[in-house]
Amino acid sequence: MEFLTDPIKVVYDWLLELFLGWGWADWVAVLVIYLLGIVLFISAVMVLDILLVWVERKVVARFQDRLGPNRVGPFGLFQPFPDIIKLILKEDIIPEGADRVVFNLAPILSLASVIFLWAVVPLASRIYGVDLNVALLYIVAAGAIGTLSIIMAGWASNNKYALLGAYRMVANMISYEIPMVVALLIPTVIVGSMSFVAITEAQSDYWFVLVSPLGALIFLIAAIAELGRSPFDLNEGESEIVSGYHIEYSGMKFGLFYAGELLHAFTFGGFVAALFFGGWHGPWAQEYPLLGAFYFVVKAMIGYWVIMWVKYTVPRIRIDHMLAFNWKFLTPLAFILLMVTALTHRVLLDAPTWLYISGMFLSNVLLAWITVEVLRAQARRKRESVPPVMVGD
C-alpha cells in the first residue's frame, strides 16, 4: 500500500493527474494543489482548536475538583459548539475612541501568528508543511508577530487597563524570548541544522531530552512565559488590570484571542515533543507516517497537558520577580548551558553512543547541581545579612 507509506505524495499525484486531465496548465494545477493543502491543513488545525476548548475546560475542572462541561453530547464533547454560537451571537462592541483598523487587525494577527507556526511543524516523517532550513528562527519570528498583535490590541483599545496589560505581557514575552532562543540553539548545536525535519530525524536512536534535560526544562519554562500562561500570566490580574490587553474585545474577536492562546499552548507542546522527545518517532513510525502523526499528536497532547498542569497549579508571579528570574537566573543559566553543551558535544563527538549520551547527561546534571549550590549559598548570605527577629518583639 503506497498510501500508507507516503500519503501526501499519493494524494498529490492523484490530484495532479486529475487536474491535468481537466486540461489545466501545469503551474495552475500545482498552485491549486498547494492552496488546497494549505486550506485543508489550516482547517484541520482549527477543528483541533475547537476540541482543545473542551480539553482545556475538562482538565481545569478536574484540577479544581469539578466535573467540567457534561451536558452537551457525551462527556460534554459538543460543548464548544454552543460556546461558538454564543460568541458569534454576542454584540460586537468597538469602544468609543478606539483605533478601529488596528483594533480589528489585532485579533486576526494574534491567531495568524499561531497558525504560521504550523507551517514548520513536523507531523510525521513525510508529512509537514515546509522543510525550512531556518525553522527554529521562524518560530521566534512568528512569536514576534504575536507580540506585535498584543501591543496593537492594548494600544488600540484606548483603555488604560488594556495598555498596562499589554505592557506587562510584551515585557514578559520579549524577555523570555532570549532564554528560549538559547534553548533552541541546543538542538541546533547537537544536530548542526535549524530545520525541524532534520532535528526530528536525528532523534531516531535517542531522544534529546536524555542529552539535554536542562535545555528541555529551560525551553518549557520559556515557552510557558511566551504563551503568557500561569505562572507568567501577567497580562491578567483581576484586582489591578482586569483581563489585560483583551479587556475591550467581545464576541468572536475575544474568541480569536482565546482560540489563539489554546492553539499556541498545544503547538508549543508539539515543539517540546519535536525538539526533545523524538517528535513522531515511535514503533513503525518510519514506515507508516500516519502512525507517526498519531505519535506526534499524542506527545504534543502530553506536552500541552504539562503546560495546563503548571497553569492550574502554580500561582501568578509578580512582575519584578518574573523579570528578575529571567534576567538574573534563566538567561545566564541558558547561556552557560549552551557553552557546556557545545563543548561536551565537541569532545564526545567521536565517542560511542552510550558514552555520548551519559557524558551529555552528566554535564547537565553537574551544571544543575552547581546552580543549586550557588543559589543556596546566595540565599544563606541573604538570610545572614538580615538581623534575626526575636519572637515576641
Partner: protein, 166 residues
C-alpha cells in the same frame, strides 16, 4: 511575467506605499505600524531571493525587537500622539531635489552595471551554511563580525552604566 516578478512588484508596491505612509501619517503609533509593514516587505524580498536566514532575522530583529521598542518609546514619552505642527519646514524643496538627484544617480549607476537586469545568481548548496561559514572564516567576514559584536557589547555596557547612575 513570472510569478516571481508578480510577487516582486506587489512587495515593492507595499514597501513604497507603507514607507510613504511612515513619513506622512500624523499619528506616531500608526507611523510605527506602517514602518513594520515596510520592514515586512523587505523580509519578503529577502525570502524571494532565497536568503531565508536574512528574511527571518529581519522579522525577529526589526519587527520583534526594534519596532516594539519604537512603539514603547512613543507611547511612554508622548502624551498627545497626534502631531499638529506642520510636517515640513522651509527647506523641503532642497531636500526633495537632493533626494530626486540621488535616486536618479542610483538608477544611472545601476544601469551602468554589467549585470543589470540579469537573473539572480544560482545558489550552490545550502546558502545558510555558506553564510555561517563566511561569518567565522578568516578569509571572509570574521573581522567585521567580531567588530560588530564588540560594538554591541560596548552599547550594552554603556546602557548598564547610564541606567546605574544614581
Amino acid at each position: 511575467m513570472t510569478a516571481e516578478q508578480i510577487i516582486f512588484f506587489l512587495t515593492a508596491a507595499l514597501i513604497l506605499i507603507s514607507a510613504l505612509m511612515v513619513v506622512t501619517t500624523r499619528n506616531l503609533v500608526h507611523a510605527a505600524l506602517w514602518l513594520i509593514a515596510t520592514l515586512f516587505g523587505a523580509a519578503v524580498l529577502f525570502a524571494t531571493l532565497e536568503a531565508s536566514f536574512l528574511a527571518v532575522v529581519q522579522i525577529v530583529v526589526y519587527i520583534g525587537a526594534i519596532s516594539i521598542l519604537f512603539i514603547f518609546a512613543v507611547m511612554l514619552t508622548r502624551r498627545n500622539l497626534l502631531d499638529k505642527v506642520s510636517q515640513t519646514n522651509a527647506g523641503w524643496p532642497w531636500a526633495a531635489g537632493i533626494a530626486i538627484a540621488a535616486f536618479a544617480g542610483l538608477v544611472f549607476l545601476a544601469g551602468q552595471m554589467h549585470n543589470a537586469g540579469a537573473q539572480k545568481g544560482e545558489v550552490f548548496g545550502d546558502p545558510l551554511m555558506a553564510l555561517s561559514t563566511a561569518l567565522v572564516s578568516p578569509d571572509a567576514y570574521v573581522l567585521a563580525f567580531e567588530v560588530a559584536s564588540i560594538m554591541l557589547l560596548a552599547a550594552l555596557v554603556g546602557a548598564v552604566y547610564i541606567a546605574n547612575r544614581k
